[in-house]
Symmetry: C2
Subunit: 307 residues, 2 copies
């Protein structure tokens, strides 16, 4: 299994390293971390049973064009924000038999890639993980790690199954999903309230948000279910209750959007909230709480842009 | 006309000074500014045709109990926030014939005072003004200044009319209102969106808010109209359009809630938003945008309280 990971951020480095552990030939495209990773590889420090280990990619390049062979899988694990040129990153990496694997948060992240590479298999994935790049080539895996993978827009090919198995064998859970779009909406049920509310409150943890504004959180979650249903992806009827219960049982948690906000990085506002809102408007679903949160995030981002 | 102004903040000092200019005997209860105001009085610097002038109160006391005579009017012009003990401030100031005048923002600010002083006339007022206390005894009047006054819960007594006339003669507009509660809802149409949105965006001006999120602003305004109507105070059908137009025509403006937020002072969240939301819930009005904004303000305040 030949794999190319584009980017040596936290998510790509971590999942690439797991495949390398299973014997895959994993190369990486590194940009800002190129010098360090070329010489030292990548150190993974995991607080889980995975422990600490070293990942030395088969090749480290600045650009996929430098590689002579096209990979079986190219993993693009980046935040989908306005600044990200995903097509530009993929174009030199993809051969006729390359499966494109997108592991990113959000709703409707696949369409642009599916249209640009209509003849390539597209595997869409979701990562449930706390992992951080603390320095070039240094990855700190705090907790979780589960994946969900499946073909876009639906189905589960042999290659998708094989990728899932490799991840499973590396010691994490990987759910092979026939309906990854529905899985995306399921993840959005949690992301749509907690990510923006943590930012708009200027830094509250999930626990503070939920324990003081549970009904507001539920209203946002219900609206995501409504949009999912209106677009043909009915979610389980107990999904809101389960998300509420599991969040109460989590340790107080800083969302990824809050971490981006605090670090001054672009936030996934459009891909998590904006795309959900647009899908809801198109379907004519009543989503006033979601519209409010989206409008407020756009105002908060406008203020950031002015600073 | 004997008047006692409680507090030497911006609004009380300014409106008290106007009555003194018209020959009223105006005394003040000063707290933190007592030493300065006792010696120097109050300097008013107005950017309007009122110009700059000096206001020397007839008496300056620390507590209304020090005065031998009870006033015809006691003016309480303070922000209604949790920390404000309005009954405590009024109790030594009020005699059997004293009219209590409340000039404050918000919804349902009168009930507590009406219940505590059931035998006193209650005049409720709204100030449309930009005025700031820049130092003890220094008041900077930037613009506007219009008042609306009337008896609570409705009506217009001789004493209310007389007070209104005195303000009119001093050079500002004062609308004598038979239905001051409706006037409060009218002012809330503007306050309910712009005050919290300026804070939740971390400091955008009214113009930035309106020019990027007009439909969100309109939705909030419409919900205030809905609550007002449901509680018996139907507002003019063009009130939302008029507020939108006039805000576009205002210079970009920092709301009073944003000024409080930036100065670390308590905000009028409960009296502007919370009381409106509670009235809406009681009336069964659908107010999801307002509920969202209120929930987010409570989260933002929770974070402030933790800091």
């Amino acid at each position: 299994m030949k794999v190319l990971v584009i980017g040596t951020g936290a998510v790509g480095s971590f999942y690439g390293s797991l495949l390398a552990k299973q014997g895959a030939e994993v190369s990486v495209v590194a940009r800002s971390d190129y010098e360090h990773v070329k010489v030292h590889g990548i150190e993974i420090t995991s607080e889980t049973k995975l422990g600490n280990y070293h990942f030395r990619p088969q090749a480290v390049v600045r650009n996929a064009a430098e590689l002579t062979e096209k990979p079986d899988y190219v993993l693009l694990c980046i935040k989908v924000v306005e600044q990200a040129d995903r097509v530009g990153l993929l174009k030199d990496a993809v051969g006729p038999d390359t499966s494109i694997v997108l592991i990113s948060n959000g709703i409707d992240i696949e369409d642009e890639i599916a249209r640009t590479f209509p003849n390539n298999e597209l595997i869409s994935g979701l990562a449930f993980i706390c992992v951080t790049r603390t320095a070039p080539g240094k990855i700190w895996h705090q907790s979780y790690g589960r994946l969900a993978l499946g073909n876009y827009p639906r189905g589960l090919s042999e290659k998708a199954r094989a990728l899932c198995s490799a991840f499973e064998q590396s010691g994490i859970n990987c759910a092979a999903s026939e309906d990854i779009v529905t899985a995306r909406w399921q993840k959005c049920v949690w992301n749509a309230p907690f990510n923006p509310l943590s930012v708009l409150s200027a830094g509250l943890s999930t626990n503070d948000i939920l324990s003081t504004q549970e009904s507001f959180v539920r209203n946002i979650m219900e609206e995501i279910c409504l949009i999912a249903k209106a677009t043909g992806h009915t979610l389980p009827s107990d999904i809101v209750d389960k998300n509420i219960d599991s969040t109460y049982n989590m340790p107080p948690y800083k969302t990824s959007m809050l971490l981006d906000f605090e670090a001054g990085r672009p936030m996934e506002t459009e891909v998590i909230l904006g795309n959900a809102v647009r899908a809801g408007r198109k379907a004519g679903a009543p989503i006033p709480h979601l519209e409010s949160v989206y409008a407020l995030m756009k105002l908060r981002e406008l203020k950031l842009a002015k600073e």
